[in-house]
Assembly symmetry: D3
Homo-oligomer: 294 residues x 6
Amino acid sequence: MIGHSKPDIQKTRIANSMGRARILLEALPYIKQFRGTIVVIKYGGSAMEDPRLRESFAGDVTLLSMVGIRPVVVHGGGPQISAAMAAEGIEPRWVDGLRVTDEATIGVVQKTLVGVINPEIVRFLNGHGAAAIGVNGLDADLFRAVPRDERLGYVGEITTVNTGLIEGMLDQGLIPVVASIARGEDGHVYNVNADTAAGVLAKALQAQKLVYLTDVEGVYENVDDPSSLISKMDLSDLRRLLERMDGGMLPKLRSVADALEGGVSQAHILDGRVQHALLLEIFTSEGIGTMVTP
Amino acid sequence: MIGHSKPDIQKTRIANSMGRARILLEALPYIKQFRGTIVVIKYGGSAMEDPRLRESFAGDVTLLSMVGIRPVVVHGGGPQISAAMAAEGIEPRWVDGLRVTDEATIGVVQKTLVGVINPEIVRFLNGHGAAAIGVNGLDADLFRAVPRDERLGYVGEITTVNTGLIEGMLDQGLIPVVASIARGEDGHVYNVNADTAAGVLAKALQAQKLVYLTDVEGVYENVDDPSSLISKMDLSDLRRLLERMDGGMLPKLRSVADALEGGVSQAHILDGRVQHALLLEIFTSEGIGTMVTP
Amino acid sequence: MIGHSKPDIQKTRIANSMGRARILLEALPYIKQFRGTIVVIKYGGSAMEDPRLRESFAGDVTLLSMVGIRPVVVHGGGPQISAAMAAEGIEPRWVDGLRVTDEATIGVVQKTLVGVINPEIVRFLNGHGAAAIGVNGLDADLFRAVPRDERLGYVGEITTVNTGLIEGMLDQGLIPVVASIARGEDGHVYNVNADTAAGVLAKALQAQKLVYLTDVEGVYENVDDPSSLISKMDLSDLRRLLERMDGGMLPKLRSVADALEGGVSQAHILDGRVQHALLLEIFTSEGIGTMVTP
Amino acid sequence: MIGHSKPDIQKTRIANSMGRARILLEALPYIKQFRGTIVVIKYGGSAMEDPRLRESFAGDVTLLSMVGIRPVVVHGGGPQISAAMAAEGIEPRWVDGLRVTDEATIGVVQKTLVGVINPEIVRFLNGHGAAAIGVNGLDADLFRAVPRDERLGYVGEITTVNTGLIEGMLDQGLIPVVASIARGEDGHVYNVNADTAAGVLAKALQAQKLVYLTDVEGVYENVDDPSSLISKMDLSDLRRLLERMDGGMLPKLRSVADALEGGVSQAHILDGRVQHALLLEIFTSEGIGTMVTP
Amino acid sequence: MIGHSKPDIQKTRIANSMGRARILLEALPYIKQFRGTIVVIKYGGSAMEDPRLRESFAGDVTLLSMVGIRPVVVHGGGPQISAAMAAEGIEPRWVDGLRVTDEATIGVVQKTLVGVINPEIVRFLNGHGAAAIGVNGLDADLFRAVPRDERLGYVGEITTVNTGLIEGMLDQGLIPVVASIARGEDGHVYNVNADTAAGVLAKALQAQKLVYLTDVEGVYENVDDPSSLISKMDLSDLRRLLERMDGGMLPKLRSVADALEGGVSQAHILDGRVQHALLLEIFTSEGIGTMVTP
Amino acid sequence: MIGHSKPDIQKTRIANSMGRARILLEALPYIKQFRGTIVVIKYGGSAMEDPRLRESFAGDVTLLSMVGIRPVVVHGGGPQISAAMAAEGIEPRWVDGLRVTDEATIGVVQKTLVGVINPEIVRFLNGHGAAAIGVNGLDADLFRAVPRDERLGYVGEITTVNTGLIEGMLDQGLIPVVASIARGEDGHVYNVNADTAAGVLAKALQAQKLVYLTDVEGVYENVDDPSSLISKMDLSDLRRLLERMDGGMLPKLRSVADALEGGVSQAHILDGRVQHALLLEIFTSEGIGTMVTP
């Protein structure tokens, strides 16, 4: 059955397509630069909650994987955990102003991170054609941890990382999606901060990039001054900044400092509320958000 | 610092140990026979609920893995799912006497299987020194499914299995622990019967053995006659038996028939209430429970 | 040294970039479909002569290679050979209307294809970041040939292809650029038609696609009727067409028929005068030019 | 043909088996600890002569191999050699109280070690299901040697070891059984002390353990005092002991010291007259005999 | 320290060397043809006994190995065994005119083949720079056998060959030297005819060539007519010849027939009394002795 | 069809062949010594122009390759380039007595080296059974270069070598034949001195030998004194010689010094006018020409 195409229609189509081809080609140098390297992405905030942003994230990560970059996704799930605790009527307990993770709480943490959020991320990534696989710190002892502060219960600090597990997955073309719990030396499950877990994993894997998707535009020198948004700084700048900083950015920036000292080449604080923030960072010359280099 | 041991104590110790050595050696022919082969184990019932049996199961699976056999664990979680549904106040719905898996139900199924039971199994296996890894049907599209009956909602029938994912894990010395959900062709999560999933997986992997850990002693020719317990039958016996059988054993035995037709070499219905049932089956000459061969 | 970026500039930049990200993502399904497959491209005509088209071609091929597709470029060089012969004062000789390739002529053919055109293509591909490598039919006896017609002199018909040579290069991530000469059974150099060589090579490599870059819009059912441009046909359509066809398209279409019969999945006659014709064909849903399938 | 098992018989059988399963599981931590490591075993004395001990040794080594440990057996054969010499009427010659290995003697040594003892060990190991392979120092120049003392004739000191040969065998799952002769730099066969060869080989292979099966209970601080049996000492203890020691234990202990200095992790002097001495040492917490650590 | 060479001396040397270079080059087509193929050589007779022929054999085999051909040497040792039996005063026993291999006899056979002849061949091959390794049928159960005739005692017929063992050695560049004993199904050592073992091994390894070094010039159509020496025949000629033949050539020719039927490409009966018979056969156009092809 | 050979003819043939076998065996130690090592050969002069010498060269290189040595051929082509320039009427331009390589000149250089000389060498090597492959510095950026002197135009100095490209070819058993052009950092083609390119490549590949085939007998201490021909010197001798030397040998000897300092084990200046000079050097004990060692 021979099919025909009207010449003028084909011409219009070609004209339209030309721009697309040029855009694909502009990505070439970035693909070339980052092929084969590991990019650890801490995923959370609006990018995880807003369905439209979630789709854009899934597409971005899948594309990175398809062109030969090796993304590793690390996620937490604070808000969903809080909601699940409320639904189960678990009262948060506090010691010296810090929340305690008791037996009941860690149960909800595990159930929510591993049973709800993690397979959900895997499912929508695979819906874009990726081959994502859910992992948590218990799998083949990916994360071993010790208690961070005995008074806080099952809150852990990572002591060892089974990098072979993640590397094995990357070698098979899989995208690991990591839920941030760990196995304590006592055999119990521990909750570990996802921002920190991302940094520790990036360092252990000697990643090229460590990327935080956040709900701010980047790092500000002065939080009250929108014009003080930092586009680029190095490790010494970051250390000075850390001395006079507090708030939610602190665990991320400390992890960035640790990762860069430990061999990671670049760290980024991106605005996850921007669609395709990840692609924009990796595939454009200026990047977006705040970049920190050693 | 030189240490001494009293000669008579050493002698007593040696005498005691001798018997242990002999028992280890009796395992030799079985290790030789099954090294490198895949054993798919459907895990559930008392063996999963009773802490003492759980420990014995974990030890057995770890030992199999350490001596070079390749166990794959598949689990369901009916009772825990029912409990979780009740706790969340979800009313079961029925169509023609069959339970419907609606949106809320599949959410509880996923959360319980993937977030509670699966990591728990992984955790106690790794506590025995194994390198277990949790997997579910969404991971790298391990199980793709279609709806089994449109009226039943998100209940799926497996259409394809990503055997490469499991084989890759086995090649790295990992013990896959599989939660029986699947990705529907519509992208949604589906619940799949764990007994069936085990059989399908055993067939897809061309396993040497398919083992069901149950809460009965084995298969009875006549359920009411304890002396009719079958120790051994072949596929043609099984087919005759299937014609006049009903009840909970049916999905297991149908899966056994499918698996044996599809290339699996042996299937076993074991009494999971017996400690170390798995080791006894694999490492003794008579085996236990009911064995079915092609 | 901390760098800042003005928030409004960043916003504009993001807005502009968004469209680019979307276009990259639209390529995803095609990358997924064709990763790891071999695409043999017959390169010639305007796409080789026009500097702007040459750049666009080089970018296209490099991009294919970077995203994991395995392009193999085959080229001829008729016009340049004619020019070089004229420059050296070699008179073309004819037998029954067919041009004779004598000792002097084959010398010019080899010098021009292997010494001028081939390294030029390699050089501009590598200028785009590719890792192209020049090859000709003499290298490790890539093409062995017998004389096609004794009266025509050193004009050969390919009898065997050393596919291992090309596969080895593809496995190392190289882009082979193949000059269409061959080693005769008599040890002499032979000229082989580049259109035919591309088809033979596609078949020997069991390529996914065989693509001809030409100076027409595609294949016409009726050369005099622009509206008869064929967008799609299958092998049986092509065979009917071949019976009543003549002219320059004939060797291409015969090679297409041979290649499709021999296991190649798709063949394309593209308009090489269109920039990025290759990308448009592979990365858009409608494709361009004429596609032939088995 | 359906087979039945009487329920009460099965119950008795299960009860009996339970203890066996527990013993198998107690071996788990040791299997885990030593999998993949090399254990060089000097085999000789009663363990080689007494048929019952020989069987127990064969079982032990086969089990080690089956669970993934990599045993290498080195043997001598003093008594058999003496007997063979007597049978052939060869008179031993002495120089300064040391026995001379002349042309006739080395012939008997080679014939007995390589032609009688070595294949015998290989044969009974394989009778237990192992895949043992006989090797001697001439094979692929496994051992090169120089004369130890010119007056002693063909008695050699090992200068180089072809570790690749043994490692290649281990990688194929074979158990090398090594006869302690060597190729001299002059091309002649040389006799090398088997105790020394075991130590040199353990060091060259960077073995985890070097084990001597002897006809004593272990090392005594004071040979005349049975209560001075040493269960554990380190390299510095051993060195002090060596200064005031003589007799048959000397070459073993010197080899132990050399091996531990050269990177071997543990050395053991075991009582080969105890059945399953090897398994007891490796698979129980207290071990038996004398252990020396760096 | 600058060294000088007198120009005229260098010229003479070059002149002399020229012929050598040409001879090396004449070997090229044969090296090309046989590289990577397996050649099984039955070694025995004068070639094994005469020191000069032994040297020439060792050189030939080493050269084959060095240029990438894969020789496997199989040897017997009839005369040495008879001598050893006489020395030990063992009386040969006969049943129906056939010699019986009893317990004492098989002991001498093993000791002589494995302990005397085999290491001797290994040693002189390695003296030429080869990496030969001694193997016998007990090693990793290389040869399994059943009794050939119960009345004859430990005389075996090979039932299975562990080709993986030999292939593993060839892959490591080793030259296996095989002593023709086997493991009986009863665990006992059996003597197997070396001519037959060579043929069975060639077939199991799918060798390119099976070569017998004998003490005759080749096969004669008529043993009494020296002019009836056969240079070349095919399998059907051989079968006709076998019908009317007897004597020592029979087991060789039957093995040749079996091997050629089983996939071996060429078999040769060479005169081992000719120095370098092996090289002459493989590296010259006419070959020597009798060649049989399928 | 049985074939016979007359016994006396066979005897004569064997006698004749015996000498050939001995010569083959004399090559053994050299094959053993150089197997697996890389030998970079600068090819040019009479050895390239004289048809008889060319044949001898092709045989030599093919033989080296067949016995497992890894030859890499580097060639220039001064005389042919000059002839081609004259034929095209290009006037050589000079700056300060040095020839300028302008746009037209580099075109002729590329066309002649890559299009005429290189495929010619490949073709006659393959005619001897080798698997040679033509390469030039543009292929996968084998040679990157910077201008040597801005006034000289497109004359380059090599800055980086893509050794992986050549090693990949050697691993596949190919013989790389390298044309000495390079890619400038500006993307343009550059001419590089072939003597220098050979030295740079030998160093980058950590070759065992760097061999120059020249039209002189070797290096003379005093060019006017034929008796001062040097057979052997070391790097310190060479450095002293370089201080008082000029003329055509200079670039070769400087490259030799660089290569030896950079890890190459031996360098040779051979008389390419002698047939089989290469074989004589590598396969005889005295070697020919001048050898330089570190």
